[in-house]
């Protein structure tokens, strides 16, 4: 820790306020860094010890350019770890530094207490350093080009994970989909209820026998299927089954681990930022701020929460939702009575003086992720108050246009972006397609086509790992298509989609 003494005092004071207000952050380590260091750490996803890869260099270039042109500035960076690491920009003014520290404790509290983070590795700082060592060793041994090319492929496939998996698997137990090793239940054929003497006619024996046979065949087919059930954690399937060398398997496993570490952060972006912003504003305005600092505070706060032209700022959405929830539960604006009241005047003056707001938002921060948060708490009033709308690309005018102000559509659009982390839903259904060891993926089409050029290139990457032809079934403009790569060329043919 390299904080000057006076800042140390400030940090302790703010932590005291935060704890008094009910936050329970991890012990938090603060580091003061300059702009270049901040960009470096941010480019590395928050981990200074991360493995070497050009992609981080690319991020760095982008951040640096953004900074030089004055488009963006990172005030702080918080790492989900125990202890929690927080990087603060050296050049922040004292007031901004206070805001940022309060903000950090908000994040730290969220990491520690939100249930979606329960399964994340809290020693990720160490783990990332280990990954760094593993990659460097591999480079020493197999050469930069080879390792780099393989990592490129890993990055290409890294979104083929199952965000719900950490909660489906028992700790240490087999992953879901691989766990069907229990004795199969005996096959039961459905019989209609009948009197004894009618049974022969109501449930003809040869029909029952035929059904039984069909069920048995089905089970047999199921038994031979590989994988047994479609698997969404394609990465794990590859780790287990692809013909990889040891170091390759190692790097692929590593990519997967890192992905699962980052998944909860992607799942709770709005919630997490909203929570941190809620607490920095609450702590600053009620406890920390001195008179002389008000203007600076307001300036900084409004700059981070301002919405650009028409765009929706996730910080803003999050904090406003939390404020809305607090108010609604303070005033008792929930439950069947509230829902069924359609007298606008009564609604606007509705106040039962329950004072449950604080309690409710702590509950929200504990058990929700963004999907639940938005689904549950975006209301019609909220949408109107914040003038939310959905927009669409208009191909005729070649621009984005406001599409709809209906609150259900708004919610639906937000939820669509959050489903499966905003990635297409893809499962591996066959690892032995056509009995030729080929891989068959299925994209569950949810209204938006895949980007085809990328899909073709991704198949090439997948082939590099699977080393047999690979296919993905999808819909293109409403028609079933099978995209394939056989090691030589990308092909495409029409298929019937179930």
């Amino acid at each position: 820790m390299n904080l000057p003494a006076d800042m140390r005092k400030g940090v302790d004071e703010i932590e005291g306020h935060a704890r008094e207000a009910g936050l329970e952050p991890f012990p938090t380590v603060f580091e003061l860094v300059d702009v270049d260091e901040m960009n470096e750490v941010a480019a590395l996803g928050g981990f200074p010890t991360r493995y070497p890869h050009w992609r981080f260099g690319m991020e760095y270039e982008g951040l640096r350019k953004g900074h030089v042109y004055g488009l963006q500035r990172i005030f702080e960076l918080v790492i989900n770890n125990n202890p929690c690491y927080a990087y603060l920009l050296k050049s922040n003014t004292p007031v901004i530094q206070k805001i940022v520290i309060a903000h950090v404790f908000g994040h730290s509290d969220f990491f520690k207490n939100n249930m979606w983070f329960v399964k994340t590795n809290r020693r990720m700082m160490d783990e990332m350093a280990n990954h760094g060592t593993r990659v460097r060793k591999a480079i020493e041994r197999y050469g930069l080009e080879r390792v780099e090319n393989f990592l490129d492929v890993c990055h290409t496939l890294e979104n083929l994970v199952d965000p719900t998996l950490p909660f489906a698997a028992l700790p240490g137990g087999p992953a879901r989909g691989a766990s069907a090793e229990t004795e199969p239940a005996p096959i039961a054929v459905r019989r209609l209820k009948s009197k004894d003497y009618m049974d022969r006619f109501v449930n003809p024996p040869d029909l029952l026998a035929a059904r039984r046979q069909k069920a048995e065949e089905e089970r047999e087919k199921q038994r031979k299927r590989f994988p047994r059930e479609p698997r969404k954690d394609v990465l794990q399937f590859l780790v287990e089954n692809a013909p990889l060398e040891r170091w390759e398997r190692d790097l692929l496993t590593m990519t997967r681990e890192e992905m699962y570490y980052f998944v909860p952060q992607m799942q709770t972006k709005t919630l997490n930022e909203g929570w941190a912003a809620f607490w920095h504003s609450t702590l600053m305005t009620s406890r920390i701020l001195r008179d002389a600092e008000v203007v600076d505070y307001a300036d900084c706060h409004s700059a981070t929460l301002g919405g650009g032209s028409g765009a929706l700022n996730p910080y803003k959405l999050g904090i406003e939702l939390f404020r809305d929830i607090e108010e609604r539960w303070n005033k008792g604006r929930f439950g069947p009575e509230w829902d069924s009241c359609d007298d606008l005047d009564r609604r606007s003056r509705w106040d039962l003086h329950l004072g449950l707001g604080r309690e409710k938002i702590f509950e929200v921060r504990r058990i929700y992720n963004d999907i639940g948060f938005i689904d549950e708490f975006i209301t019609e009033e909220f949408c109107h108050r914040h003038k939310l709308f959905t927009y669409r690309w208009n191909a005729q005018t070649n621009r984005y246009e406001i599409a709809d102000r209906d609150w259900r559509k708004v919610k639906q659009q937000l939820l669509f972006g959050l489903t499966n982390l905003g990635s297409p839903h893809i499962t591996v259904v066959d690892g032995n397609y056509g009995n030729r060891g080929e891989m068959y993926l299925v994209h569950r089409h949810e209204g938006v086509d895949l980007r085809l050029d990328h899909a073709r290139d991704t198949l090439r990457g997948l082939f590099r790992i699977w080393q047999r032809p690979v296919h993905i079934e999808t819909l293109v403009e409403g028609k079933g298509k099978l995209l394939s790569y056989d090691g030589q060329e990308n092909t495409e043919k029409d298929v019937k989609v179930a």
Binding site: W393, R399, Y400, A403, H443
Partner: protein, 368 residues
């Protein structure tokens, strides 16, 4: 200490260079880099650096925003950049652009075409004076005050005068302590080059032909600029007569009428002998035409002019013949026959945009 990210960043730049090199022909033939040139920097779009993934196509996705307006109101600005799509966050949706300096681009071009470095003509060694701020003076403007030296002088003075107290080290510079940065003159060898672009603007040169000339001239410029410190460009257009024009006119002028190439060569000769003595300048005339000269008399006159007047004064004379549906393309043949084996002349034929790169290589591979 080299920061860790520097390695990743250097590697990234390497890859960028590799990609640019790989696709140089494509970039060159599309001409898309021109017009993206800022001050010594080119922004090159490199969408293929984006790692491929199974992801949604862009069109068809939308997002959520906030603000006023009815359905159908266009969004100002580009949504999704600053947060509109954050809910449906898809990293890497923006088009990746990488800044490359012109010098670096020239180096990439040089590597790809395996161009030799140009040896300036050895007849003379030009020198010029350059101001370098390496000196120190006692007077000068406050903006050039040298803080460390001023401080040191003050410290020296205070110690000598016994005013320095180690327990309370306060150094207060007075007027006489002040030191200012100042310049020294330094002699450096200098090489100057002048590029003279001539273009046939007779009716048979269409827009496509001119575009080819424009693209080729840009890349020749880029390369030669990396080789010479000081470059001057002059532009000549000609049909039956020749005149000097500015850059904009050069690329946009549309004339028609006959073609008398000798008129252009006379003008080249006039400009060079008047403004650019061959002792001080490296002279590169480039002439682009569709090769349809007016009569063999004029062609003979061109040959004489080149041999007697132009060649002795220039480093290299380059003639690029752009294929056009109207031109006969005889001129190149005539030149090649007359000057077979003469190293002063390089001719090349440019069939289409794809041929630009080869033509550049032909012109510049001699390292002259």
């Amino acid at each position: 200490m080299v920061r860790k990210i520097e390695n990743d960043h250097a590697r990234f730049r390497d890859i960028v260079r590799g990609r640019i090199k790989q696709d140089l022909r494509k970039y060159i033939s599309r001409g898309e880099l021109i017009g993206r040139v800022g001050k010594n920097i080119v922004s090159i779009p490199l969408p293929q650096l984006e790692l491929p993934r199974f992801r949604y196509g862009r069109v068809g996705t939308g997002g959520v925003g906030s603000g006023d307006g009815e359905a159908g109101t266009p969004l100002s600005g580009e949504p999704g950049e600053s947060g509109g799509e954050n809910a449906g966050d898809q990293p890497g949706e923006h088009l990746l652009e990488v800044d490359v300096s012109l010098a670096e681009l020239a180096r990439i071009l040089g590597e790809e075409l395996q161009l030799p470095r140009i040896k300036p003509r050895g007849r003379r060694l030009l020198e010029s004076d350059v101001e370098r701020y390496t000196g120190i003076r006692r007077t000068g403007p406050e903006s050039l005050r040298h803080f460390k030296r001023t401080f040191r002088e003050a410290l020296k003075r205070q110690i000598m005068m016994g005013l320095y107290d180690p327990a309370r080290p306060r150094i207060i510079p007075i007027r006489e302590d002040r030191r200012y940065r100042s310049w020294n003159l330094k002699r450096v060898p200098e090489s100057n080059a002048v590029l003279i672009y001539c273009m046939d603007v007779s009716g048979s040169m269409g827009d496509e032909q001119k575009e080819i000339v424009r693209i080729e001239a840009f890349w020749i410029d880029t390369w030669l600029r990396s080789q010479y410190k000081n470059i001057v460009t002059r532009y000549i257009v000609h049909d039956a007569t020749a005149k000097e024009v500015d850059q904009h006119t050069f690329y946009h002028l549309r004339e028609s009428g006959g073609t008398k190439i000798s008129a252009a060569y006379e003008l080249v000769d006039k400009i060079v002998s008047r403004d650019y003595s061959s002792d001080e300048w490296n002279v590169y005339p480039f002439h682009f035409s569709d090769g349809d000269n007016w009569g063999s008399d004029d062609t003979r006159r061109c040959v004489d002019l080149l041999r007697d007047q132009v060649f002795p004064r220039v480093n290299l004379f380059c003639y690029g013949q752009v294929k056009s549906p109207y031109g006969s393309g005889k001129f190149k043949k005539a030149l090649d026959e007359h000057f077979a084996g003469n190293e002063m002349l390089v001719t090349s034929e440019i069939q289409s945009r794809e041929g630009i790169l080869d033509s550049i290589r032909e012109f510049l591979r001699h390292g002259k």
